[in-house]
């Protein structure tokens, strides 16, 4: 569909669509939105490496491909390693990588494939300094296998292997801070992003494109199926995750931290706001919510301190 010029001028996102109709994501899927934005930012000259995850399905079964880019489906734990191989091959062949006119090599992996089984390959990828972008779309559990906990699952969340039940058994560990592990590798650019703030996400994708070396973006991507939330609430939930400072938006560039909150002067909303539409948290008691709130407060203070000292 041709977009009229006057509308185009008002768009804050690139008008081009490279994510095709007919993809097989669930209603309200955050990951599919994320893919759409990545393709808007990078376009056709992109090579994706996607491990076993929901996006294997979203991109379509053989012979279909709903992404308007070349895509290599790879094994669960190998995203980082495959990116390294693709980048090395491009360089050996004298093909420009990254930058405005270079080929974008993009890893697109869920939290399980990143925080857990793929962590080693991610670490190797970051440490070796490949010119590629690794995007972890974080839906806080193994959704493709039917909602089991990952290292990125938050405190208190119901999953099928950390169920809430009569004896009130909950996930007792806080969310793994993958971004901190990434930053410990001293790479040039790392950031958090959210599907509720696509302009911010695309700006970060563009920064990654311009920055030589490995970049990492942790994208908050709601999963209504796994979060037991209404399919029309995904964006609102993602926005509340930021507004409550449960998932604050920030960047780490060349050793400096910068917080990019939509309303920087506003105090974060209470964590209940983030929890309210999500069935996965319904087993939490007041005490549990308090424990989660304290974790959010502590981490938020820590981030502010980092931005203050290393801003």
């Amino acid at each position: 569909m041709e977009i009229p010029e006057q509308i185009k001028k008002k768009l804050t996102l690139p008008a081009e669509e490279h994510f095709y109709a007919g993809h097989t994501a669930c209603q309200g899927c955050g990951a599919s939105l994320g893919l759409r934005y990545v393709l808007k930012a990078y376009g056709r000259k992109t090579i994706f490496a996607i491990p076993a995850c929901c996006s294997t399905i979203i991109a379509g079964a053989w012979p279909y491909n709903t992404l308007g880019a070349n895509l290599f489906h790879t094994a669960f734990e190998t995203t980082g390693a495959v990116l390294g191989g693709i980048e090395a091959a491009l360089k050996a062949r004298g093909i420009k990588v990254k930058g405005e006119d270079g080929v974008m090599v993009v890893g697109w992996a869920g939290d399980g494939g990143t925080a857990d089984i793929g962590l080693q390959a991610l670490s190797g990828f970051l440490e070796r300094g490949h010119d590629a972008v690794y995007i972890m779309y974080d839906n806080e559990a193994y959704m493709n296998t039917g909602i089991q906990r990952s290292g990125s699952t938050p405190y208190g969340a119901w999953t099928t292997n950390t169920p809430g039940g009569k004896r009130h058994f909950l996930e007792k560990r806080h969310k793994k801070k993958v971004i901190d592990i990434v930053i410990a590798h001293q790479i040039p650019y790392a950031a958090t992003a959210s599907v509720a703030y696509p302009e911010d996400f695309i700006r970060k994708l563009k920064t990654a494109q311009k920055t030589p070396g490995p970049s990492f973006i942790q994208l908050f991507a709601p999963c209504p199926t796994g979060w037991r939330s209404p399919t029309d609430k995904s964006i609102e939930i993602a926005r509340l995750a930021v507004q409550t400072a449960y998932f604050p938006l920030f960047e780490y560039k060349d050793g400096k931290y910068r917080i990019n909150m939509p309303n920087p002067k506003k105090e974060p909303k209470p964590i209940e706001e983030f929890l309210k539409y999500q069935g996965r948290f319904k087993y939490m008691t007041k005490e549990d919510i308090q424990i989660l709130q304290e974790w959010v407060n502590r981490e938020w203070e820590r981030l502010k301190k980092l931005a203050e000292v290393f801003g």
């Binding site: 991109a59 489906h73 390693a81 390294g84 062949r93 004298g94 080693q120």
Partner: protein, 396 residues
């Protein structure tokens, strides 16, 4: 250009590294493991000294990632190589399926080493044979020359049929033992092995966006497997042709997938793979002097398995002593199972006995071959086996 070989005294591992250099490999992703390490060290040295152009070396954090990175590189159109051994190969196992399933002509050297526990760094074929069903071709080198030649041929064969290939050499017996290797001048290697033409290329942005390795439903998966099976069948012809071409160009003929040695009038033959067959050939010469009518049959390519050549061999002998430097628990030596199975529906029914030899690097000598010959002679005269599988070296 007339072929004048360049003679170098090198280890098996260095022979592999030189072959990688001469094949103009573009990406090497590898992880260190004994006794493979000196292959990748030598390659790194070539880069450090500016002896190779356009070779990207990716020092990955595990063998699993080594194969994954090699796969990424190969899918992006590069000629890609890695090397490993034993536990490292086992760690790669999952990705070996990925390479063959995605039809990527990767070449890998596996330095045959025993699996732990107990820890062992010495020769044993169980590591590579455990990868039998991954869809990789497997070439077993007898000596350093065959390591060098094997890598060059493997690239050509793999890139013709789009199936990955493993070149296998023995731990220490070849990997760290120096021998004269005749190397081929670069220009002639280039003629023999031109630039790779990939089946697909992730860096091709002219065609419609495409995906590789996607989910295939039961409606399609079956055909993918069939195509890979067909490619292995076609590979046999390609292997023979490339082996013949290699012989015509460079004087060493590899057109036989099973190399036969003095088998024409043999009563029985020793069959096996890899470095132990050098010992066997030497023993055959001595045994011939002693009046034994024996020969050797060296299985060069274990996958695809040369059924036809085995049949030709088996129909003309009374017995085959299958020497396995490996063992499949709950069964017998792996080559023995394969060879027996391949002959079952034929009229060739020699007496076949399995000798398990040299596991974990135990020496296998000419004298051992003589003892096996005595035993084989006795059972052939009697017309029946004493035991089907004998653990030859066992301390009792």
């Amino acid at each position: 250009m007339e072929y004048k070989p360049i003679r170098k005294v090198v280890s098996g591992n260095y022979a592999a590294a030189y072959a990688v250099k001469h094949a103009r490999v573009q990406v090497v992703a590898a992880y260190p493991i004994t006794p493979q390490t000196s292959i990748i060290e030598k390659i790194a040295e070539f880069i450090a000294n500016g002896e190779v152009e356009n070779l990207q070396y990716v020092p990955v954090e595990s063998e699993h990632s080594a194969m994954a990175a090699t796969i990424g590189a190969s899918a992006t159109g590069a000629r890609a190589f890695t090397a490993t051994s034993a536990q490292g190969l086992a760690l790669m196992h999952e990705m070996l399926h990925w390479a063959s399933g995605a039809r990527l002509p990767i070449v890998m050297v596996d330095v045959n080493r025993a699996m732990a526990p107990p820890w062992s760094v010495w020769d044993d074929q169980t590591d590579s044979l455990a990868q039998r069903d991954t869809g990789w071709m497997q070439f077993y080198a007898e000596n350093n020359q065959e390591v060098y030649d094997g890598v060059l041929m493997a690239f050509k064969i793999a890139e013709t049929v789009n199936v990955p290939a493993m070149v296998v050499e023995s731990a220490f017996i070849l990997s760290h033992t120096y021998d004269v290797v005749e190397m081929i001048p670069q220009e002639l290697v280039d003629e023999f092995l031109p630039l790779r033409k990939p089946l697909y290329d992730l860096a091709d942005f002219e065609r419609e966006p495409f995906s590789v390795g996607a989910l295939a439903t039961p409606a399609d998966y079956y055909e993918f497997r069939y195509k890979l099976a067909k490619a292995h069948e076609e590979a046999k012809e390609v292997i023979r042709k490339v082996g013949q071409e290699f012989g015509e160009r460079f004087g060493r003929d590899y057109s036989q997938m099973i190399e036969t040695y003095r088998t024409e009038d043999a009563d029985f033959v020793f069959m096996g793979m890899g470095s132990l067959m050098g010992t066997v050939k030497q023993a055959v010469d001595l045994l011939r002097e002693e009046g034994y009518k024996v020969g050797a049959a060296k299985v060069r390519w274990f996958r695809p398995f040369p059924k036809e050549e085995l049949y030709e061999l088996a129909r003309n002998v009374d017995g085959i002593a299958v020497l396995d430097r490996n063992y499949s628990f709950g069964m017998e030596g792996i080559l023995f199972t394969e060879a027996k199975g391949a002959l079952y529906n034929t009229d060739a029914k020699p007496l076949m006995k399995n000798y398990i030899v040299g596991l974990g690097g135990r020496d296998f000598t000419v004298n051992d071959v003589r003892k096996i010959a005595e035993n084989m002679k006795a059972i052939i005269e009697k017309g029946e086996l004493d035991v089907e599988v004998e653990w030859y070296h066992l301390k009792r």
